[in-house]
Subunit: 371 residues, 3 copies
């Protein structure tokens, strides 16, 4: 545990960080990413691009989610335009029939099928709210390593979720979420409060964990005070950001009522936000958010209120990430170097980790399996 | 003549075919391409891009079609924005006057004109329905080599034609037309019938000819049965695809009435479809189609019915070629290799021929003539 | 002074001029460019791209114009989305506060600010109608070298100005303005007259000056004859084009009434047009025009008439420059070489000078200052 980095942390202000991931760093394949929600995946195939690769998703008759490379290995026609026939997907161009492993099992024009006719199939795990995909080395696909959090699926929490499309890099989205000092500025009108930026950031980098906490005392913004029934009361707000995996970030808010402390007990009012991040292309990102609370349980109207307040704030992040992407692409990088400051310590560590994970995979796994 | 390749043809399943043409293969210049229809070329200049080069087209006072490079050799202003003055085209920027050979013959600002001031002129041949252009080595421009078919201009056939713009590679359009096994899938609702895909493909590769035939017995789709008056009757349908030249593909349909054989005589009901293909850019293609029939002669209502049915089906090809182009450009080619199957034998041969023709021209002919 | 080049100038028709600037030549930074008009720069920051770099502009409380690099040195968020607080600009993402020199003077999350946290600041000079910026070596920023013209700010001239955005290269815009032989063609309907193209061009290239003059006798076009009250009268029209600097071109028109000579005196009716040119990107250009006249003084209705006539003509230039940019980018440059003619002598000299100025700067100045 490192205390206030303005006092003790080593300065992170050296210019130039070729060891940090950025928009042009190769994707990390050996990780779980969300590719959609269960309700999106039906008997009508859909396509979605993740890590720059187009994936077709559908359900078997028994309800299992199947994820195959969308590009037919024969002549590149997207399989999503084909037709499901039982548990097989028939390409809409020449009728090649693929089973759920991606193996072609029928070519209408001939009697035998060479084993080489396969499209990549990807391991998927369907959980309560999301469908996860593993696009890396199949040997590493371990459902035990899914970056799930207990609260995502526990009856002790009420959850709501939503989707945003980000015209920016997933690296910058992670960095955005890890340094909540921006709440006081980018989200000044949404759920930021001025105390935020000046609060000491407590950065914890231990093993795989990269986490930052801030504790402030303030009048809570409406997104929290309204469902808590604490409007106008002073509260202690503890906010944590944790990089969990390339595909998941968790933000936590814990609230103590300073005016009427008894309101803070059993359980301590807490909000957990799963920030689910799937790179689409180098410059675009899928962004799902799942908001869990242990108060105002069962109050769907309040749940809708909170979600709309969150989405208003997250849309400000989308705006910022687009603006960063636009100016970076307009100007290019020659002659420009980001400068980091102590409060970026967790972000810099995270970006170095993403870079190291990407480097481990070079050259990238080939999504075209061979027999 | 090779019989059913599912039995006798050598397997064509080896991965990777760097010897086959694809979207990025250089264009073939030493070939005739259609650049427009006679009615499009008037005394009002128009511009059209073929083989990545912008061409300006107009008619002389005597009615001859002239094709010049559209980019003024002086300062690149498109000549199409200039004005015709007799049989000369005056650039709309500085008034340089070009004759029908592309030679600049007047510069308003000076008394003499250097011979070097020329734009390329291209040999064109105007035939009944189309204007053809030769953009390669002028020495090779031989009207005798125009890929015209007798039926295109014979009084024994009724023809209609139309234009489609294809957001995809001309190579893929040729391949699409050469393997009609896709009729049963891509065109299942238009004019495909299920028998198609399973019918033996008879591939003939002999000298310059690349041709595939299939014979099926079926209830004819409406596009044929209606004008033939064979609705609901069983017929033998013979379908041929022939690669004629980089700019022309011919599909043939021959029909025999199995229920009332006497309906098939004098002449045997036949449809010829000239598939006229002109690469516009690497990723876009001009596509004219001319449909000829030797039945229902003079019935313009039936001609319109057939053309609209064909265009509905060909629009499905446009959709497929766009989808292939989109996914290929999204994902790029690293890690992906098309796999061919025996039914692709003609297509693979054709793509190898296109590649060989392109290789013959390297470096590509320079369209800027010098004095 | 060189007389009519059709007689005496050496031919400029050699193909290929790798020594001439074109759209892909690096920008010239050591020059003054207009970045906006005074009324655009207020206490509400605006962003504008010049030389491919995004600049944020605002006014101090005392009214001074400040120009900073728009891209925050910390995480690239555009400062234009931040907030002015007194004479400091606070980044809208993490709250870094920058003073008017671009130095970061406050980081809310820490007590000290490393000197390295700076964005580039640019010297600006605000004059009557325009705000000028110097983006090159700060040591070379000399207000005395502003390409201002006396008539731009003199009470003896009435001026109006306007802005056009050009989807083309600034090099081609300069060339357009330097060779007014195009008036007879591109502007045949606006303010060109046929005599123009054939009139001898008197080219003067002396020291830094590149200037072309033409003298014609004609019925003046309406843009001049109407405000002069010379409708239908014969006049001598002298037109000059002068390349002043990468950011300024001046066109001059001087008129003598041949039918009623006494109308031409005190002062001789003259129009000066400042053609203000700021490259935005390689393929787009900011284009301000300031039209000054020493007749029809104080007649704002006539001023509006003249400006609208000029803009109609200049829009034809915008059209031409876009068409040149489009066809050049469609076809690429391989196999194409501009051919120059004697009337291009000034333009070629100007393009060689731009190229030489660009070469002097390689590598380009780094806009990121270091402490």
């Amino acid at each position: 545990m490192t205390s206030d980095p303005t006092v003790s942390a080593p300065a992170e202000t050296a210019p130039g960080r070729p060891d940090m991931a950025g928009p042009d760093t190769p994707f990390i394949h050996n990780a779980w990413y969300v590719i959609g929600t269960p309700s999106e995946v039906t008997r009508m195939p859909i396509a979605r691009t993740v890590l720059g690769l187009s994936i077709v998703l559908f359900r078997t008759q028994a309800g299992r989610v199947i994820a195959l490379r969308n590009r037919c290995c024969h002549r590149s026609f997207p399989l999503v335009h084909g037709a499901l026939d039982g548990d097989t997907l028939v390409c809409g161009y020449h009728g090649l029939r693929f089973d759920c492993t991606g193996q072609c099992i029928e070519i209408p024009m001939q009697k035998t099928v060479p084993k080489a006719l396969r499209v990549a199939s990807f391991r998927v795990e369907e959980r309560r709210d999301f469908v996860w995909i593993w696009m890396g080395d199949p040997a590493g696909a371990d459902a035990g390593a899914l970056p799930l959090q207990d609260w995502m699926e526990s009856p002790e929490w009420d959850t709501v979720h939503a989707y945003l499309h980000v015209p920016g890099s997933y690296v910058h989205l992670h960095e955005n979420l890890l340094d909540l000092s921006h709440l006081s500025f980018l989200h000044a009108k949404a759920f930021g409060t001025p105390e935020y930026a000046c609060a000491p950031a407590i950065t914890r980098i231990e093993g795989d964990d990269i986490e930052v906490w801030r504790h402030v005392e303030c009048i809570l913004p409406s997104v929290y005070s309204t469902p808590l029934g604490w409007t106008g009361m002073r509260a202690r707000r503890s906010s944590g950001s944790k990089f969990v995996a390339p595909g998941l970030h968790v933000n936590t808010g814990i609230f103590e009522n300073l005016d009427e402390p008894e309101r803070s007990r059993n359980p301590t009012p807490t909000v957990k936000v799963g920030q689910i991040i799937s790179p689409e292309t180098r410059h675009t990102t899928h962004y799902w958010t799942i908001v869990a609370r242990n108060f105002a349980r069962g109050d769907t109207q309040m749940a809708g209120f909170m979600l709309s307040q969150f989405l208003a704030a997250f849309s400000e992040d989308v705006f910022a990430l687009k603006a960063i992407s636009d100016i970076t692409r307009l100007e290019g990088d020659p002659g420009f170097r980001e400068i980091s400051i102590p409060t970026d310590r967790a972000g810099v560590t995270m970006r170095r980790r993403l870079r190291a994970l990407a480097d481990l995979e070079q050259p990238a796994p080939d999504p075209t399996p061979r027999s």
